[in-house]
């Protein structure tokens, strides 16, 4: 029976629904102490003195550490992703430190660590620490950060430039010369926070009798955390076990290695020989968990009169925050994803990553891709107006054709490999989205009628691609146990994507069992210790194909063993009915549990060259990622007085290759759209000139609620990836990537103010009102 591709409900749900799933803050250990951090109240300051003497004497306090107490353990964190091999690029590696030593570089940077009997006592004690600082001018605005004489985030550099990466394809200058029209825009995309409902947390316990360190961590990458910690602490990798249990939302920021707390809590647990727990609270999360988004683009597009793109040029600034441990993944994604599903013959792009005195920037769902999509889609919208070509038509004319794959973009992607689209078929996505949203009827009938009624209703449509499923690799071990249960173990962590189900589906299909017969373990380094993590929409693609390969091998072993036992050639056997049977004589059958026992005999010998057990381990390492694609369309209404926006209809037509479980992909898409919507309309981290975050609470940083997020209609088209046997591509970020570009287009259509263009994100009613007022003022002045 085909199990892959079906709407299977999830194996993990009963535990989560009944409150019986382990999250990090649920871990309780005997004798456990609690950790709090003193965090900098300044964005930028020189530290004169950190006096912890009163805090150390505070009742219930076991230890207080500053940078000076860490000795050799104090060192900047590792560089997670090296810069791309691009000629002419510059990269200044300045990674975060465990505790600020001489200088504070962002609000909330940890300065001291307090260990006490309870979290409340640790926080009480942190008030007794005397932090003597000399505040410095903050570096908040990206452009001012690069002006001569701007305060420097890192004093040893000449400027606040963290990196510069120029990339090109074709000859833009000559494309521009040949162009009938060149359109130039400045586009701004401001910061947001992922705001997973579960904050971060670490629990560490050192067992001095077995000399093993146990860590529970809300990480998306338990294996690299284990390897890095073992190295830092001078332990063997096998002495460290990292478990990422159920994790309450990841979205990217839970894979920043290493957060200071991840470095310090295990170290102190060993030193104090006590289990320690640190759980981030929401106000810490707003300053201590990585953020994303700030970019300013100066972009231009060169086109022929009939709307064909001849070339695109873009120069942008990217806010990397105070440090750059994640390398250039985010701006590279922006740089590459700008090219979208379009045939762009010439591209000249250069970005400068800029240090600011703000929280570190690392990928958050979309991971910079949405900026690229925003830029190209805004340019196409402007071109559509300028050239008088319909919005849909101008996109259609520029799509890469279905026969043009693999399509080489000649730039280097975030995985350090050339950006090559493996497969795709874009026009049917556009047609289907157009049909599902009812484009023709809306434009011809509904919109004129509603406008006549005085309503401001508009429609929009945008396209995008998403590079997913990148390497290096993941692995999986699949085993049939003598009870007949099947276990699948993999190294990726899970944060709600449904790995316990989708990986079970893949194994179950090969082994002829039910999905609920398969128990999946993820995120426990004692069970599987090779792998990198859950990011870049890669879990289902990379771990999925590893499970597929391992399950196929187990299936092969079952057949071979059964052939011996049933005295029949493999070709005459089939996996069915929970075991193996003769195709011609189904009565001659052996169940899989028996086979598992035969594979692990208690007497006799396992034949040389074979391994015991019905078990196999396989790895999957794609040499490049699989490119998913899609088109989103929406109808929105805006109240011209209050500028409140209501989404009346929302359609996503998505191609993530072979869909493994449509129910779960729908869920991923819905959630992505909700985050994209939040990103476009509600979520803005408001920093003042001193680098203070003015809205660090859920009272002021607004997340979309059930009243704000529309019902999303999802259509699936499947262009299988030729790069993996399952044909799958990632789906995790698709919902979030084009949302902002879509909303601004639909809003412009709704407002219908001549010449009015939205060139920034996020919007909120008051900002939209200002923009509209400015546009109307300009119109009246003319």
């Amino acid at each position: 029976m085909r199990l892959v591709g079906r709407r299977v409900r999830r194996n993990e749900d009963p535990r989560l629904l009944t409150g019986r799933a382990l999250f990090v803050d649920d871990v309780q250990r005997p004798g456990m102490l609690h950790v709090a951090f003193l965090r900098s109240p300044f964005a930028h300051a020189r530290i004169n003195e950190v006096d912890v003497s009163m805090a150390r004497e505070f009742p219930g306090v076991h230890a207080v550490y500053t940078a000076a107490d860490l000795g050799d353990y104090w060192r900047p964190g590792p560089l997670l992703v090296p810069p791309p091999p691009v000629e002419g690029s510059v990269f200044h590696e300045r990674t975060q430190v465990p505790l600020a030593k001489d200088k504070i570089r962002h609000l909330g940077e940890p300065v001291a660590m307090i260990v006490a009997d309870s979290r409340a006592l640790a926080e009480d004690a942190s008030d007794r620490i005397f932090l003597d600082c000399e505040p410095l001018d903050a570096v908040v605005d990206l452009e001012r950060a690069l002006e001569p004489g701007a305060p420097l985030v890192h004093d040893d550099l000449d400027s606040n430039i963290a990196a510069l990466v120029p990339q090109r394809k074709g000859d833009y200058a000559s494309a521009r010369e040949r162009a009938d029209v060149v359109i130039r825009r400045r586009l701004v995309y401001d910061r947001g926070a992922s705001a997973a409902i579960e904050n971060r947390g670490v629990v560490a316990e050192w067992d001095r009798l077995t000399e093993r360190l146990m860590i529970w961590d809300t990480t998306q990458a338990p294996i690299p955390i284990r390897n890095g910690l073992a190295s830092m602490l001078g332990l063997s990798e096998s002495q460290v076990r990292v478990v990422a249990p159920f994790v309450g939302g990841g979205f990217g920021p839970k894979i920043m290695m290493f957060y200071p707390e991840e470095v310090l809590v295990p170290w102190a647990a060993i030193r104090l020989d006590r289990p320690l727990k640190w759980i981030e609270d929401r106000s810490e999360n707003f300053v201590a968990t990585t953020q994303e988004r700030g970019q300013i683009h100066d972009a231009e597009i060169a086109l022929t009169r009939d709307g064909r793109i001849l070339g695109v040029k873009d120069s942008f600034l990217h806010d990397t925050g105070a440090y750059d441990p994640y390398g250039l993944t985010v701006p590279l994604n922006s740089q590459c994803t700008l090219l979208g599903p379009y045939d762009v013959p010439a591209y000249e792009s250069e970005f400068r990553a800029v240090f600011t005195t703000k929280t570190i920037v690392t990928p958050y769902r979309g991971a910079g891709r949405q900026h690229g999509v925003f830029v190209i889609e805004r340019l196409l919208d402007a071109a559509s107006r300028e050239l008088g070509i319909d919005r849909i038509e101008i996109r259609r004319r520029n799509f890469i054709g279905p026969d043009d794959f693999p399509y080489a973009n000649e730039v280097i992607y975030q995985d350090a490999a050339p950006l090559v689209y493996d497969s795709g078929n874009y026009e049917p996505l556009l047609d289907k989205a157009k049909e599902m949203i009812g484009w023709e009827k809306f434009v011809a009938e509904k919109q004129p009628r509603l406008r006549a009624e005085g309503r401001h209703v508009g429609i929009g449509i945008v396209a995008y691609v998403e590079g997913t499923g990148i390497g290096p690799y993941e692995g999986a071990r699949v085993q049939v146990e003598p009870t007949g249960r099947v276990s699948v173990v993999t190294g990726v962590g899970t944060q709600g994507q449904g790995h316990y189900t989708v990986l079970a589906q893949i194994a179950a299909e090969q082994l002829g069992v039910g999905v609920s017969d398969v128990a999946v373990v993820t995120g426990d380094t004692d069970q599987f210790h090779w792998g990198s993590g859950t990011f870049a929409s890669r879990g289902a693609v990379v771990a999925g194909n590893a499970v597929h390969a391992a399950a196929k091998e187990v299936r092969h072993r079952m057949l071979e063993l059964a052939a011996k036992h049933l005295d029949a050639p493999v070709e005459e056997l089939e996996v069915a009915d929970g075991g193996v049977r003769l195709i011609a004589d189904p009565e001659r059958h052996i169940d899989r549990g028996q086979l598992a026992s035969l594979a692990n005999p208690l007497r006799g010998a396992v034949e040389p060259g074979t391994e015991p057990g019905l078990e196999a381990t396989q790895y999957f390492g794609p040499y490049r990622g699989a490119t998913a694609s899609g088109v989103h369309a929406a109808i929105v209404e805006v109240d011209p007085e209050t500028m409140l926006v209501e989404v009346l209809d929302y359609v996503v037509v998505h191609d993530c290759g072979k869909v493994l479980n449509p129910l779960l992909v729908d869920g991923q898409v819905h959630g992505g759209v909700a985050q994209g919507l939040g990103n476009a309309f509600y979520e803005e981290l408001v920093y003042d000139d001193e680098g203070q975050l003015l809205n660090a609470s859920f009272m002021d940083f607004l997340l979309p609620t059930s009243l704000d997020v529309p019902r999303v209609k999802v259509g699936h088209l499947e262009t299988p990836s030729p790069l993996n046997e399952l044909g799958s591509k990632g789906a995790g970020e698709a919902g979030a990537i084009p949302t902002a570009a879509l909303f601004v287009q639909a809003l412009e259509d709704a407002l219908a103010i001549p010449g009015f263009e939205i060139r920034e994100i996020p919007l909120h009613p008051s900002r939209l009102w200002e923009l509209v007022r400015a546009a109307k003022g300009a119109e009246e002045a003319e």
């Binding site: 019986r20 649920d26 409902i197 309450g248 709600g496």
Partner: protein, 164 residues
Amino acid sequence: MSDRHTVRVTVNGEPRVAETEARTLLSDFLRHDLGLTGTHVGCEHGVCGACTILFDGEPVRSCLLLAVQAEGRTIETVEGLAPDGRDHLHPLQEAFRETHGLQCGFCTPGFLMTLVPFLEENPDPTEHEIRMALSGNLCRCTGYQHIVDAVQLAAKKKTDEGGA
């Protein structure tokens, strides 16, 4: 610093007693003093709704109450919805599973505890009523659509059973 109080509550039908500090939040008391870790904490300022429990039958945010305020009260948490374990789910839990109404599952207990009394009072709600009822609980994974579907499914099943 010893400011400890004995708090007696009835939780999921069982009398429970524990000693705790005056400043302990009810959410922390349930999670850490009583070991009922199904109630989750997302913001501790009353916005996200992850810590929602029933307090004398009413949904409340347990992070906005002190444990000592619960003295003598009756509390229900997510663990009480399926007391016989995960093979015997509450109909609303079943509906969440059927419709994929949860992803990471962290906010889910709060949604369930908000929705159980809502469905009792509104056995046949409209989508808008459901969305109003949900609007005080934040979910970052699902976009709410499948949660709305779950509530509709649970309501429909209950109505069908009632009519049969």
